[in-house]
Assembly symmetry: C2
Amino acid sequence: MTKPGIPKGTRDFSPAEMAKRNYIFGVIRSVFENYGFRQIETPSMENLSTLMGKYGEEGDKLLFKILNSGDWAHDLQDEELLGRNSIRLTNRISEKGLRYDLTVPFARYVVQHRDEVTFPFKRYQIQPVWRADRPQKGRYREFFQCDADVVGSDSLLYEAEMIEMIDQAFRKFGFPVTIKVNNRKILAGIAELIDAAEKIVEITVAIDKLDKIGMEGVTKELAERGLSDGQIEKLKPVILLQGNNQEKIASLRETLKGITIAEKGLDEMEFVMKCVGESDIENKVEIDLTLARGLNYYTGTILEVKADNVEMGSISGGGRYDNLTGIFGMEGVSGVGFSFGADRIYDVLTMLNLFPEEAQRGTKLIFLAFDQKGIEYSLPMVRKARRAGIATEIYPEPAKMKKQMTYANNNNIPFVAIVGDNEMAEGKVMLKNMVSGEQTLMTIEEIIDKIL
Amino acid sequence: MTKPGIPKGTRDFSPAEMAKRNYIFGVIRSVFENYGFRQIETPSMENLSTLMGKYGEEGDKLLFKILNSGDWAHDLQDEELLGRNSIRLTNRISEKGLRYDLTVPFARYVVQHRDEVTFPFKRYQIQPVWRADRPQKGRYREFFQCDADVVGSDSLLYEAEMIEMIDQAFRKFGFPVTIKVNNRKILAGIAELIDAAEKIVEITVAIDKLDKIGMEGVTKELAERGLSDGQIEKLKPVILLQGNNQEKIASLRETLKGITIAEKGLDEMEFVMKCVGESDIENKVEIDLTLARGLNYYTGTILEVKADNVEMGSISGGGRYDNLTGIFGMEGVSGVGFSFGADRIYDVLTMLNLFPEEAQRGTKLIFLAFDQKGIEYSLPMVRKARRAGIATEIYPEPAKMKKQMTYANNNNIPFVAIVGDNEMAEGKVMLKNMVSGEQTLMTIEEIIDKIL
């Protein structure tokens, strides 16, 4: 018998994994709600007209497309068929695709429901997305995104709130992170400073290597990328930017003086830093000009989170955008959004062994009996424990002790109630604590008290 | 500007709808876990080899199929293309489909992971499924199923547990239901009694009309369906079956005496009824021989739930099956499963206005300030409230009172903290209870105490 399988890049989640995943989603959800975000869900499939062209040419290819129902081949022309142009034929036989992220469906949602939505609209969304990417370690074809966005306001309070929210979430997860902050307007100002707007990505990539290759290396790399000596000279204070956040802002104010867009970006950053500074956040917040995620998308603040002391890429990120819904014809909707990377958080919690005990248990109590009489004796107690809110099972047959204990062990059940003749004679059961090994003869009321 | 839309038969869920749906899923989940069921999740897409042929010919057509990635048209032959046989071509250009239910993926899961799973395996699963059905009122192309199954045991305790679980769930939802119980083996015995195994569905359909068309009508209908007078005469005690559950069982024992399969079915039913009778369940449990759901699938107990006093089809159902995993080559895995119909429960709760207040609120408290000073005054209080676990917002700009109050109203926020000059002078805020209209000058500590 050959085992059936699942499509590559997809995953089954076992009960043990689900408990941990639910813990992560629960923390994220509770933080989102604590900050006033409201949940929405959108359909797994969107019209291809909604999805196509929103993620670049490469993205179009990575969309999972759904074949039209019914006799889809019937109306195709001979030439179309024999042309074997997969892209063109796809347009003819598929009208729907699986969502690729939560951002485009959210933009579609806002435009479609704009008459029902009150702005600013704080929404969160935790749903799977699908990408026909080449599967590899840590990259899946189906994975969950956990996004929070506020749209319809350009208030910088929301940027500060995002940072506080990130801090809250990782404090709950129990490992320290560094929250890196950049601002697209400052990067634009830097590009303006050296008159090289189109080189902004290359510049940030080169600067990012300062620690590794030193100023000399960076200079060399920038020259290779076509920057003149004069341009590199002007960039020097930016490349060598150091100190705490205040000092960095002060230095940039000096370097970028008179460049309107940069000054606006520095004002924004200063305001956000001030708000955050007055809060009770515990994780480090660090200005990092090399942070260049989503540069074609973000227009103001850019955020990224890295776990401290762990070899792992960014585990969450987000930023401010100015035109979420323009793609659907509704202009001028500014917003700021943030996405928690649940899979990577899962990996970090696993590496650091930080999942709480609670996230690793299902059933709390199981009754083991060895004859029909024992089972009947147990059932009213099983019900009592359940009514008291304790997740309870009874092994359904009078099987051998070893078999029943294996069941309890494999399912990681912490309390086992053993029902033998002696226990029944006393009107009690023998409660075994599976962690400590301790055994005590108890009534069901005592057990309920103990477990609660 | 034309509004973008979503594929027909799919839905967006707004924050208000999500809160209610989460309430329903939360109740179901808590009941499942209380009874020791463990959650799994399976991928949205399965290999078509897993799905095809499992739901009949019609089911195969209703599967959403995913177009292969890449240059899928490249290798197709001229004849294949020009044949325009949509079914045959689909096999060549699609390898994956969206899951149609949670049962087949669960069977696939059990077989694939049989070395990791401890039997009996109590699993629950709450995930969307997709069917390319013609959309109509109450029928969607994407909808959630909420299934609990125990596999790897034929203990009838699990049937009793399912009924108790159903009772628990609907007690939590707060409306009375009738839990109807049948047993496939009894139906098989009835068919054997009149030597008409192939007519079992017609018989149940005809009997079901007794209330409407009377014994005469039923007799006529059965005759039309090819039953002889002798057969109908033999059926009479079954058709006219009355009384409480005990009386029904007694009457059937008489009628079906000596028919082994029926006696087995009656033993099963009697055991389940005895267990349930000793429990504390509050909803009615009723033997109903006309219950004929899933007759090609269920082999023992059949369950169905109807809301009392509400015009609505069955809102949940399930039963015992003997060969879940045989389709994947693993024989002899018996199980019993149950599925809550979340969409219909949603409709009943809406009709009866039974959603708890808690399921209809997000943010608990919002601060409204009218200048920058007011906002800065509020921020530390916003943080305090959040740290205390209260979902809190601040309106991000010093907008007009009316606009801010509209925001609070539209978002159904029960407490509004108004921050004007007088309030600031006193070191307090004016807390308005949006339900009662009451206003009180309070400190943030007092507000936190009040709301918690």
